[in-house]
Structures are given as C-alpha cells and as structure tokens.
Amino acid sequence: MIFNISLYLSLIIFALGLIFKISTWFRYNFESTNKPFTATERFFAATGGIAATLFSGKVLILLKSLLLDVFCQRRIMRESRLRWVMHMCLFWGFTLLLLMHALEGMFTSNLFADYASTLSPFLFLRNFFALLVFVGVGIAFYRRFIQKAPRFSTNAMDRYALILLAVIMISGIFLEAAKIGSFERYSQMVTDYADFDEEEDLKALEALWVKDFGVVSPNLTTPFDKELLTRGRELHEMNCAACHSRPQWAFISYGAATVLRPVALPLDRSGLVTLLWTIHFLACFIGLAYLPFSRMFHILASPLSLLANSVMEKGKSRPANMITLQMIALDACTHCGSCTSRCSLAVIFEEIPNPNILPSEKIASLKTLASGKPLSEHQMTVIQEGLYLCTNCYRCTPVCPVGINLQELWFDVREAVLKRGYPELLVLTPFSMYRGLLSPTLAKADYHHAQKQPMVGIEAVCSALSNPDDPIKPAQMDRDFKKKMLSSANGSTFSYCFTCITCTSACPVVRSYENPSEALGMTPHQIIRATALGVPDLAFRSRMLWYCLGCYQCQDACPQAVLVTDVLTELRNLAVSRMKNQNRRTGERS
C-alpha cells in the first residue's frame, strides 16, 4: 500500500519534474542573441534538427560518441584515471542495478525465464554491482573530503546526492543481510513452498539452512549430526534449490549478515526486514522524485549534451538550437570541478573572493540568469566581474567531461550581461583583447556601448572639481589618498616630480592625438601633479589613466626617477577599489 502510493507519487513527481526541466531547455535563454526565439520556435528547431541528424551520415558520429563518450567515458579517462574508475564504477554499477534489480519485473524476468533474485548469478551480480557503486562512492568521498584539492568545492547539492546514494545502498545491503538471517522469512517460505510437514523433516531443513544459509534460528544450534544434514539437503534440493543459491554469493550482504548474527533474532522479531525494506524503497523513490531537480539530472542531460556536441557547431547549426544546447549544458554540468582545476585564473579567487571567477561555480549563476530571475544591480555586477575575469585561454573546454563548450558559453553570457549596461571596469584591461578580436561577431552598438560604459561610471562617481573653473582649495585635499600613495614604495615616487613634462612628451598615447587634453583629460605629468595635490578624482576620471599602455616609455625617460607607469598602476588600483566600494554601498542600500 505505502509502496504503491509512494511509487506512483514519486513517478508523478519525476514525470512532472522531467517535463518542467525539459521545458526550461526551450524556455530559458541568456538573451545572448539579437533575435529572440520563442519556446515553440526552439522546440520545433530542435525536433527538426534531431530528425535531420538521425537521417543523415551524422548518425554514425552519434553512435561513435555514444560508445566512446557515454559508455566508455573517454573524456574522463583523459582527465584522470582515478576519476574514470570512480565514474565508470558509479555509472555502470548503478545502471546495471537499476536494470537488473530495480526493474527486474520489466527486464530481467523477461530475459531469463528462470530468474529469481535469490539465485546466482543474479544474487552474486547484485552484490558485485553494489561493490562497484561502493568503490565509486569511496573514491568520490576520498577526492572530495580527504584529497581536497584547493577550490574544489562541495555544495549542498553534492552532499544531498552523496547522502541519498549512501542511504539507498546501505539500506539495500542490510535489507538483504537481514533477510538472510531472518527466521521469520524462513518460516514463511517453508509454510508457503514446502511440500512436507513432518517434524523431523522440518528440523532437517532448518538445520541445513542454519548451517549453510545463515538463518539464525531460535530453536536449533550447531553442530548438527550428519544424517540430519543429509536429509535436510535432500529436502532442500527438492523444495528450495530452484530459487535459492548459497547466500555466500551475495558476498557483501552475507558479510553484513555475519556481523548482525548476534543480534539477528531480536531485530528480526521487531520487524527489521520490513523497516529496512521501507527505508530502501522510500529512499529510492525520493531519489527518483528528486532526480529532475538535483544534480543527478545529469544522468539524462550529460549524455544528451555529449551527443549533441558531437554533431553541433556554432555557425553551422541553427542559432535557436545553439541556445537550447547551452541550456541543456547547464543541466549537464555535474559540478565535477575539472574546469576549475585547470582554470588559468582560479588562483586569484584567494585574492578576489568572487566565486563567479571559478568556471564550475559560474554555472550556478548562469542558471539563475537563464531562468530570468530578477537580480539586483549589485548581484549583476558581481556576476559580470566573474564572467569578465577570464583570459579565454581555452583550458576549461577540452577537459569538460560532458563536452560543454565552456569557452563559447562564457563569451555569450558575458556579452548578454554586458548588454544590460552596468559599467565594467575590467573592460578597460587587456581582458578585453579577446572581445576585441571577436567583435565582428557582435552587434556594433553593443560592442561600443560596453566600451564606453566604464568611463561613464567613473565620471559619475569621481566627480570632484568637475567644473574646470573651480579653484582647488586645500580643504579638498584627500589625505587618505595621499597617505596611501606615499606608503607605496613605487607609488610614492610621484613626489620627486618637478613637472618637466618629459613623461608626457614620451607617451605614445599622447602623441596619437592632435588635442590630447580634449581626448584624454589629463596627460601623464598632470596626473602626477593631481596626485601631488591630493585630488584623485582629477586623475581617476582622466581617460589617459585608463588608456595607459604600460609601455614604460615615460618611466624610463623621467630624469627624476619618478616611476610614472607604476604610479599610474597604483592610481588605477585605487580607482578600482573606490568604484567597487561604491558599488557595494549602493548594493547594500538597495
């Protein structure tokens, strides 16, 4: 009764969850394309694409990918042998348990006419598959909690998955162990199946089962005499052997049964078997119902992502389908951390603790973005910073075990987020080179807008003395700022400046403009002067500061040994932290 209700309930939740999740593949997007597609358009584009692929030569590529990527998991093999062993154990152990054991009514009993769960090889295989899962879980546990690679994070989702898996597996093992030792089960079976009822025969069979099958009897204790056992074996052959192999084949459960033996009788009487069975099936059903909403959903999404990626390519496949593929990718991500372990910039997380720097942690934010959930300006700028802190070095993409084209994903989402117009100071750093090289793929207006926004943002915040006719009064001197500059070894060299303008004359950026002051605001020597006067805003909102190439011509030319370029670096760092503080404050207020 409970079994049926919970089974159907979990199946309904699973089915609804599945429909919901699959619908998000077509409904969600990052607004990364200029032309929006409706969910219906994307659905039909996908079905069309699938049909076209299945009836073309590409089906061979799909089969190859199915064999190598999905069944043999070669991508994980390339990454690490230990992880491959772990994942193969989990994948095959669990899949085979599901097919042979959980779905025995559907598969196994139809395939094998004389199937019985208590008969070898099934009895043995069930334990063998469980062993695979245990080995897999053991390695997973070792990697996450003992080996503990830096920045290898374990989130709540990972923990739930491991706990649920553990409950299912352990309850299953102990259920089988409890059944092996259960006298009540034994008696019930004898009542149901034995074709004899003489006292002596019953005793003989029981003796054999106590000796060889691990039953813990309240009536009999070893040793038994030989004749009794011989008689017992005869009865066993006639009545039980067709369905029962020796329980030692179930090597894990039998071990557990041996451990339980001293307390088996009282536990059996108090209904341990029923209790464990209930826990076991309930855990399985909870797992089933929770699956579409958990990271375990990758069981379905990852193979799909691998297969789709083997035949799809940006520029060749329909844009609508590329969006859908990226949405599937979000579900396919298993949060395994391969990308983060290779990330060129992961190390800076220790200095800039924004989890969105780490590729594996970006995915969570991407899911929020895709769902269209409203985010505050502060939340958006944090995500934006994380997305921009990427050198586009193409190290994450080749190692993703589920074949997500992360490089493209980051680029598309970054552009989609930039479109919202929040100024990103990182646009003014060499991180922009990649964007610049790929600019022909972007809408011109969007490309230039994102380039202009940071200066707009800086001008809004660093606005002191914005009227050039206003005199600079001593009260306007920012003492904190000067103290900071003077405390820095390189930055403090500004104080040697006697304004000879050599730096400005040497600057190739200044030389690029007919009217440098108009184009750049202050020129290098004026920036140094503004620093000496203690009015950082004048320097901060000068385009010159942000257009410094870092070529060190000024620094090497300075007759006073002012480390001009290093002073500019110091100033930019101060400007960035000022802007970030401002953002944080507005974020807290809103």
Partner: protein, 288 residues
C-alpha cells in the same frame, strides 16, 4: 636543460603556431619543457587588482621552485609580469609573507629562487650563440626584416636588464644568424598597440598603423617578433585593418621561432607557416 614554460593565455586560441614552433625548436636543441600546472601570469590584472596579479605570478614561481626549474616565457607581457613580481617578492618581505600565506593552501611557497628567462635569453645566454649557429642549416637571402622588440624586454630598464638599454642586441644577433638583413627603423622600441585592442580600437589601430608605415618606409618586408600579444596585434589586427581598408599594403609578420625554425630546416607545417592570418609563405622563396 629543463624549463617550465609559461604559455601565454592568448596562444591556445589565436596562436597555436607559436606553441608548435617553440616546441619544435627547443625539442631539437634538447630543452625539455614542462608547463601543465602553470596559470595565467596575472598581466591583465595588474591595473585592476595588483595583489591578485602578484598572486597569479607567485603561484607559477613557487611551482617552478618546487620542481627546481627556471621559467621560460615567449610572451613579453608574461616576461615583464613575472620579472616584476619576482623582484617584488624578493624585495618586499611583507608582501611575500602575505602571498605565501595564500599559496599555503596548495602546499606551495616561494622563496625567491627562480629566474625568468625570455625565449631569446634561453637561446643566447643559456644555450649560447654557438649552439644556435650549429643548428642553422639554411640561410635567408635578401630578406629584409624589421625587428619589433616589444616593450617588456626593453622597459623598465632597471627591471629588465635584457641587454643594452633601449635595445635588445641579443634579438638582433639571433635574427642576423639566420641570414636575414636587419632594417633600422625609428619606431622600433614603441608599443605595438595591443594593450588597447578591445578597449579603444581606434587608438590601438593608430599605434599599429604608425609602426607598419614606418617599418615599410624603412624598406622592410617583414616584421619579426617574439611576443604573443604583439603578434596577435600585427597579424590578426592588421588583417582586420586591411579588410576594413584602413591599411592598403600588408606588412606580414613572422614569429622569431618560425624564422629560426625555417633556417634550422624544420618542416614549415610544424612551424605553422600557413596559420598566420597574413600570408608569409613567400618567405620560403628567400631560403635555400
């Protein structure tokens, strides 16, 4: 000799030929490279978060120190960054302690024992000009080359100390060994414009165009350089400017490793001669 190679983050997508040509040459010269564990040098972060930029380089330095190897770079920006951070960490105990505290999580520590080598220095100082000369089997004839040094092997001079102030005579000597004729040009030590690409493309293009025009007017047929950022700028960005029509005549750019590789008789396919955006294959006619 064994070195840890600091691969530049721009090369995997835009400049695979720099990796393959470097690997091929160093393989011939018996230099072993390890690189897997190194991350970005931190160059793009310098003006955003100085400490993060130090941390990025420091991690690479500490890994190299642990393996008892020096770091080689083939990108001037990586070179300048690593050199600066290396000097900073050696001089500033407080900073070094703070950074080591962060590296500790990965059981890493940097004590200042690693030297940074530019590819040119490996050729000239570590292997020696004789070793390079021995491996040169073909020489270029009538090839006029404008060498573009790249800022960070020149400046700041106190830090870099590459060769003489304002020049990089080592570079000149190495190119001359291949038989190429060096063309003097007065914008040689200037910036290529790459740092501004993506930030203000007009400014970046203006800087690049000026250099191209100057080199051409000085009679050069090719740029030769040894920096990934400069090469992306002079090859990819120049290609864009040509397509847009803001430059009319191309000035093809050959990587130093491609030039040296050809004169060492290495297969042009391995050197990625056809991977450059602006065709450099006519250079094959200048070699016998």
């Amino acid at each position: 000799m064994k070195l840890a190679l600091q691969r530049c983050c721009t090369t995997p997508i835009f400049l695979k030929q720099y990796e393959t040509s470097t690997d091929a040459i160093l393989g011939r010269l018996g230099v072993q490279l390890t690189d897997k564990a190194l991350n970005c040098c931190g160059y793009p972060l310098k003006n955003y978060n100085y400490k993060a930029h130090v941390l990025a380089s420091a991690r690479n330095l500490s890994i190299a120190e642990k393996r008892k190897v020096n770091i080689m770079t083939f990108c001037n920006c990586c070179y300048g960054t690593l050199k600066e951070v290396n000097q900073r960490l050696r001089a500033d105990r407080t900073l070094s302690a703070e950074i080591n505290g962060k590296l500790e999580k990965e059981a890493l520590k940097y004590e200042g024992g690693v030297e940074i080598r530019h590819l040119m220095e490996v050729f000239y100082n570590d292997l020696g000009p004789e070793c390079i000369r021995k491996h040169i089997v073909k020489k270029f004839k009538g090839l006029k080359v404008a060498i573009h040094y790249g800022c960070h092997i020149l400046r700041p001079r106190d830090l870099v100390q590459f060769s003489g102030p304002g020049t990089a005579a080592v570079f000149d000597d190495l190119v001359a060994m291949t038989g190429a004729d060096l063309v003097p040009w007065h914008l040689q030590p200037e910036c290529c414009g790459a740092p501004m690409w993506g930030i203000d493309d007009d400014l970046s293009a203006a800087l690049t165009r000026k250099k191209i025009e100057n080199a051409r007017a000085s009679g050069a047929d090719y740029f030769c350089l040894a920096c990934s950022y400069c090469h992306v700028q002079f090859d990819r960005v120049q290609k864009r400017l040509l397509d847009e029509g803001s430059i009319t005549e191309p000035m093809p750019t050959i990587l130093f490793t491609q030039l040296l590789g050809l004169s060492m008789g290495i297969d042009p396919n391995i050197l990625g001669i056809w991977k450059n955006q602006i065709d450099i294959s006519p250079i094959l006619d200048c070699i016998n």
